[in-house]
């Protein structure tokens, strides 16, 4: 292992890792903000809107992210719409993340006792308060572990953006290797950086899961109906 060679290229890799972090964070924020309100659609009753949404998420989940990226990057310019690579990457990654996030949020929201919604309706509470202040806080601990493990997938998925010339971790590592023909050190370093970033997300998921199990155990003990 050539440590000098690694030290020489590490700043480039870290800079690229920063791009990966940005892509991941932007994708997570956008897909979460968009998926949250959409996940409520069709939960209490099926409507044409909810059916259309189901179709759209099914489509998005079936499409490889790469195809979505190609479509926006190479397909749209044919109609005169030319976007630069970074926005295309964010849009593409967000679209496929939305589809998964909707399903993850729904599974959590569905796990909340429907009696809670019924009680809120009987009290005359506005719909948004029911969802935001009653159902959502109860669904949060249920979907958070799944959400965070999906976030790890999003993080790893950003590597496909290398294909549309985004200088993120995988693409920069690849570039260095293609110039120096010394793949081992660079790829190990890139892998370690991914593991570090994914590890942070996994630790967060683990912490939430522990916290939840503890809370469930203590509430089970205290119930004496």
């Amino acid at each position: 292992m050539d440590m000098n060679y690694l030290a020489e290229n590490l700043p480039l890799l870290l800079q690229a890792a920063w791009v990966t972090v940005w892509l991941t964070v932007l994708t997570l924020i956008l897909s979460t903000v968009i998926a949250l309100p959409l996940s409520v659609v069709g939960l209490t009753r099926v409507s044409p809107a909810s059916q259309a949404l189901d179709m759209a998420t099914l489509l998005l989940r079936s499409l490889p992210t790469l195809v979505i990226l190609f479509f926006f990057y190479y397909g749209l310019p044919q109609f005169g719409i030319v976007l630069s690579p970074f926005p295309v990457a964010v849009i593409g990654l967000t679209l496929s993340a939305i589809a998964y996030n909707i399903e993850i949020f729904r599974s959590g929201l569905r796990a909340v006792d429907p009696g809670q919604i019924e009680a809120a309706r009987a009290l005359g509470l506005p719909g948004w308060r029911t969802w935001v202040q009653i159902v959502f806080p109860q669904a949060l601990p249920i979907f958070t572990p799944t959400y965070l493990s999906n976030a790890t997938l999003v993080l790893k998925g950003t590597s496909v953006a290398s294909i549309i010339t985004i200088p993120e971790l995988t693409s920069v590592a690849n570039e260095i290797v293609s110039m120096t023909y010394q793949p081992f050190e660079i790829l190990i370093a890139a892998a370690l950086i991914y593991i570090l970033m994914g590890g942070v997300l996994s630790l967060a998921a683990q912490a939430v899961r522990w916290n939840m199990t503890r809370r469930l155990a203590s509430s089970a003990k205290e119930v004496g109906a």
């Binding site: 809670q116 019924e118 009653i134």
Partner: protein, 266 residues
Amino acid sequence: MNIAKQDRRWPDRPDPENIVELRGVRLDYGILNVLHDVNLTIREGETVAIIGPSGSGKTTLLRCINYLARPTAGEVWVDRHLVGQVEKGGKLHPATEGVLRLHRLETGMVFQQFNLFRNMTVLQNVMYAPVACRVTSKEEARDRAVRLIERVGLGGKLSARPHELSGGQQQRIAIARALAMQPKVMLFDEATSALDPELAREVLEVMRELAREGMTMVVVTHEMGFARNVADRVVFMENGRIVEDGAPAVIFSDQAPKRIRNFLSH
């Protein structure tokens, strides 16, 4: 038949003494006819017990009063307001959820499974809705909530979470939560069915107290003792119809129709 589409004159308002008035209420789920032409009048301060076999439509009838179940036809009046419908251009139209919300402020409901908000403390459960629905200020809601919680005997549990309470305690808090909205009528949907007899007794005691204080109450129940001793009137339902409506002394006597005596003897 959708009454909203019919051309008709504005219906007559009920007598001001009648807090609840159901006129020709019908409810179908597809081809299943759950309620069939139900007429019922409940006067201010009355406690009416609804009894009858399982599947007779008691709970559905109760849920029609606050439109948690939407009748297929008929009129529901609560405190002289037509529930679930609005007049536009001389015709009646189904109310939107937003309007229904306002209609529901007149009724308080207590559920079989209590349905306390699990992410809130006892105090938050009781004071949340009056503040969220802008019925009162936060300070007033808190004061009233504390008083109501003390009234149902749980003044020491203000900061407890629902899962830390027994079923009977949860149900008493659920009653306080409904009362906090100062409803014109309280609806009880088998409020004691999920409780063992001892815990049911403490809930029934709170309900008895409410009835004594003159709250208008509609109580779907299997507690025949409550129906006989506390209710002013007992309504017997079967197959989506009101079969009998009378004083407990009559319903629980040998003069009652045979089907009621059969039901009560089981």
